[in-house]
Each structure stands twice: as C-alpha cells, then as structure tokens.
Symmetry: C2
Subunit: 365 residues, 2 copies
Amino acid sequence: MTKRVHNFSAGPGVLPVPVLETIQRDMLSLPKAGISVLEISHRSKWYIEIYEEVQANLRKLLNIPSNYHILFLQGGANFQFSMIPINLLRGQNAPADYIVTGTWGAKAVKEAQREGEVRVLWNGKDDNFVRVPKQTELTFNSDAAYVHFTSNETIQGVEFPVEPDVGDVPLVCDMSSDFMARPFDISRYGLIYAGAQKNAGPAGATIVIIRDDLLAKIPDDLHTMLDYRIHIKKESSYNTPPVFSVYVVMLVTRWLLNDIGGLAEVAKLNHQKASLLYNLIDESGGFYVGHAQTDSRSIMNVSFNLPTPELEQTFLTEAAQHDLHTLKGHRSIGGIRASIYNAMPLESVQALRDFMIKFQAEHKT
Amino acid sequence: MTKRVHNFSAGPGVLPVPVLETIQRDMLSLPKAGISVLEISHRSKWYIEIYEEVQANLRKLLNIPSNYHILFLQGGANFQFSMIPINLLRGQNAPADYIVTGTWGAKAVKEAQREGEVRVLWNGKDDNFVRVPKQTELTFNSDAAYVHFTSNETIQGVEFPVEPDVGDVPLVCDMSSDFMARPFDISRYGLIYAGAQKNAGPAGATIVIIRDDLLAKIPDDLHTMLDYRIHIKKESSYNTPPVFSVYVVMLVTRWLLNDIGGLAEVAKLNHQKASLLYNLIDESGGFYVGHAQTDSRSIMNVSFNLPTPELEQTFLTEAAQHDLHTLKGHRSIGGIRASIYNAMPLESVQALRDFMIKFQAEHKT
C-alpha cells in the first residue's frame, strides 16, 4: 500500500485514488490494446472511445443540451483570457463587461483590453477581494458583447453562490476552480471554461463549453488555433489533443457518475467538507479568521489567517509533521489556504480540522 | 507481464518501456512525496526538481549553450505555426522565407501569411513532396526575418540529412518528428520547436528552444500567453504548465542519457532500424516502393506503397494479425507508413521486416 499524504494543493490538485489506480493498472496497455494511453494516436479507435465517453459523461453530469459544444483545448484559463475576447470582442461594436472578484478576473480584464473596450461593472480590489457583489449592486448593459465573471476565485477563496442574472447578454464564466463541484444551469451561460487541474483532471487540458449562437460573432481570418469554430468542426482534434489529460478527465467524470452519483451528490460532500472548516473558523473566537465574507465563501478554497505571520509559519511546519501538506496561502495574500476539491476525502478535511483544534489549544495566548 | 504489440503510430508514438514502468510505479506517489505527479503544484519542490532535471538533461543531450532558452509550452507545432510569426514577423520590415517539403511546412506558411509577407523559397508540392532541396537549389535573402523549414515531414517521410546553410539569417525549424533522433548543431539555429509526442514524450507539451538575440524582434503588447518573453521570464510557469507531460519528457531524456548513451548512440540505432526497412524496399524488385527519394529518406517515418490499394489493405489486415499495428499511411498520401521513433525497439522493426518478406512471397504475382 502506497503511503499518501493529505494534499491541499490549490492546483494541480488531488485526484480520486480509484482514478489513479486505473491509470496505474493500464499504464503499459489500455485494456486489450497492447499500447499505453500515452502512445495512442488521436485518430485511433482507443482515443475516439475515450473522447466519446468524456463527451457523453459531461453532457450527462452537467445536463448539456445539443446546442452547446464541448471542447478540449490547451493553454489553461490564461489562454482563454485571450481567446475569448479575440473571438467574441474583436471587431464588435460593443464593449465587454467584466465583474472582478479576485486575481484571475483581473488578469482576464487585462487581456480583453487588448481586443476592445472593457467595462468593469464591479471590482472587489479596494476591499481586498473579500466578497462577490450582490445582484442589486450590478447594473448590466444590454449592448454588451458579453459579461464575464469568475465563479470561484482560487486565491481569495471567494465564490458566487449563484451566477448573476444578466438577461439576454451572453454570460461567460471562468469556472476553473469549481467546475463540476456543484450542479448549475448551463442554459444561463453562453460560454464556460475551466482548466482541468482542479476538479476535472491533471494540468494540460482546458474544457470550453460554448453555445452555438455565439459562433456568429467570431471574426474571419483568425489564426487557426485561435478560432473556436475550427476546434468545434474538428472535434478538438485539429491538432494533436492532450490525449492523456482528456483520458484522465474521462476517468474523473466516470468516477463522478458511477462512484459519487453525480453533481448534486458531490455538492453535498463539498458543503459538508467546507462546513467542517468554516464552522471551526467561526467558533475559534478570532484565532482563525476567514478571508472571505460569510456569504461569499468558497466551498473549494478555504483561505484564512492566524493572529501573526510567525504563527502561520509554525502552523505550516507542524501541519506537515501531521502529513497535512500544501497549505500555504498564495504569496499575494499570505496566510493559509486549504483547497478541498471534489477528490479531497472527508477524512483529510477531518484530519486538518483536528489538527487546527489541537494547534489552537497549544498556541492560543 | 503485460502483453504489448508493435506500435508504428506516427504520433503520439511509442515510448520506452522503462519510462512507462517508472510512471506506473510512481503513479500513486512520487518517491517520498505521498502525492501523485498528477497532483503536484507547479510551484512545489517536486515539480521544480523535474523541471530542473529536464532542462539540464536537454542541455546535455543537445549541447545547448546558455544563450538559448528552453521552453515547455502547449498547443503543439500547430500553435507554433502562429506564435513564431506573431513574435518574429509581425511589425518587421522584412519577409519570412519558408522551405516547404511536406504537409506541415505548408500549414506553417498559411499561418505566417497572416502576419506578414512570406516568400516560399522552395516547394516540393508539384513533385508530391518526395524530396528535400539541395543547398544549391536554394537562394537565401539576407533581408529575411527568418528562414523556416521542417527537418522531417512526418506524413511524406522526407527528412533533411542536414540543415540548410542560411548564413546569418535566423534559422527556424519545426523538428517535431525528429527532435532528439540524432545530434545537431544548435548554434546554427535561431529557434527550434517540437511537439513532444514523437520522440520526447506524450502529447501535451511543446518544446521551444530560442536564441536570446531573437527576443529583440518581438513586438510589444502581445497577448501574454503569445509572448515568448513572458514564458522565458517565468520559466514556462506563467500559467500552469503541462506538469505530467514535462515529467515524462524528463524521464525520456534520462533514458536517453543513461540507458542509450546520448544522441549519437540513438542515431546509430535509428539508422540501423531505418536501413532494415529501406534495404528491404530497395531489394523488393518494385513490390514495395518508397515514397521519398533515396537521399531524402526519413529515419523516423518510412512511407511506402504496394502495387495496389487493395493489396495495401490486405497488408494492413494481415499485419495486425501479427501484432503489427498503426501502419496505415496518412489519408493524404495513402499507402503504408512505419514510424520508428527512438523508443521503437529493433525487434519490432525486425518483426515488421520479417512480415514484409513473408507478405511479398505470398502475394507477389
């Protein structure tokens, strides 16, 4: 039995052990193939089977209707920060509206500004990104090319409880760090995208789901690899796709369907895990202080502080001695961050909670 | 013991079994980590160790001096077809010169034309891409932004025995399908790039090696992910890199150094393997007809035809019965293609050769 530690990495993050075990078992040969998944052509029947299963699994898990296309691209969310405005803002006689609730949303704005006018409808920066806006704080413009928001800000641990209502304007969402963490109504979105390396698989694949009518906005003469229409037409195999990453996403979706029972079930588990930590924070009498305001708390990334940076360092050192790893907060906000994605076992969160109780008892002055 | 077949896939292609076995062994936990390589942060010490080793191994294998940067990007050679002219042609008062010896070179031209003037110095299309030009057939322009060529055309099986001499103009090479197959003098190149999925690893990583002085040509205000300078400054971790693919490239370079003994040794093996097939073709009395002219033959992709398409289909069917797989030629030229990358065992090539002799004896009319 391989010894495994509790891995609270913000991404690439923890994967389900049964998925890792399947990868391990079949590394020298996919069932009956005699060839590793790392060695199969993307035109082979083995890859086509993987591709068709992951498409079907995602459609089932997310209830995706046929007027949405599911793409597997490369370059992560950062590349989508550019690809989205290149496709949907360039050449439009309309600005794009962005809601900025953390580091990633701000980066998305920067790239969009290269392609056209950007209106920032709401920006949490002055408040150190501790919350998402309420619907009543947002005024949408019916002339916008699209509205962009980040459903979960990985660094700040700030998450929209539900997507904003933007009327008929296409809603575009960076769902990188809470994709498949809970059910959502895809029909409210024009485009969602997610780097796989949080809830969906390893780094190297980016999932983009785009509604068919948005394609009419795309300018002609884009570089081939920058044009969503090409990737749709070629079913994400215009170029060699990231075969292994797509394979692992397929295994993760299979795990979600068969072992977990779908997104409503995984959301229950995620809320249970997050509550364990947030309840402890709330009951710590100010020893642990959550970064996000209560109604904006992320169920994926629990960012919090201790009374002093020195104590935070001690916390990290002692946590590691208890096999609790990768808990250091992002350098931009410091403190502690526990990322508890879909694949994070409840037992690991309980182990962290137990350690936090013990640590407070030992260090409270 | 897992049963493995002979896999002549053109890409993603065969990988060394010891590399697959290491991946398999460590899939649940990197040595002493307690975390899978699929779950490590790209900011973790484990990834930094992988990254530093692959950089060091590549520098050693290819004898790369310090004025060249080694990048690990995403999107494959297709994305480089665009990224190169965006960085090195856009805004230049100079055309780029392209040598086209097959399908991939032609695709590279198409994207470059979006960014500036392209002069095609030589095009093998009218001769059905059966050879590379001689040095004496090429006239270079000292005013060119760069000269681009494809060292090995995977589909046609046409390879430059040695790179063209372009004087002081930066030489840019798509080395996707013969990267690390033989030693070459990096100092003759301004930029080389290669999708990993032939000789270097699985799909999902693109290796770009760029000489420092070329960076001065890059225009300001590029999208962040399109700017080589950003990726250099951030050591290919501006965004989440394709961690697993980089890890496998590291293992492959380790295998080349420690098990094979370097690129001169692997080149000997590659010539030995290729000769087995080409000699048989030459001695078949016209039953097997190689696509490439003799002096342009690829040591990586052996493309050939049989007397009729029907016989080619029979060949593929019977080959599969002998565990010889993925031998179908690319749809654009038909026939048979045996891709025999670095990791292809000599025994597999011998098995193919034995089958070809038997097949000819049984089917020669």
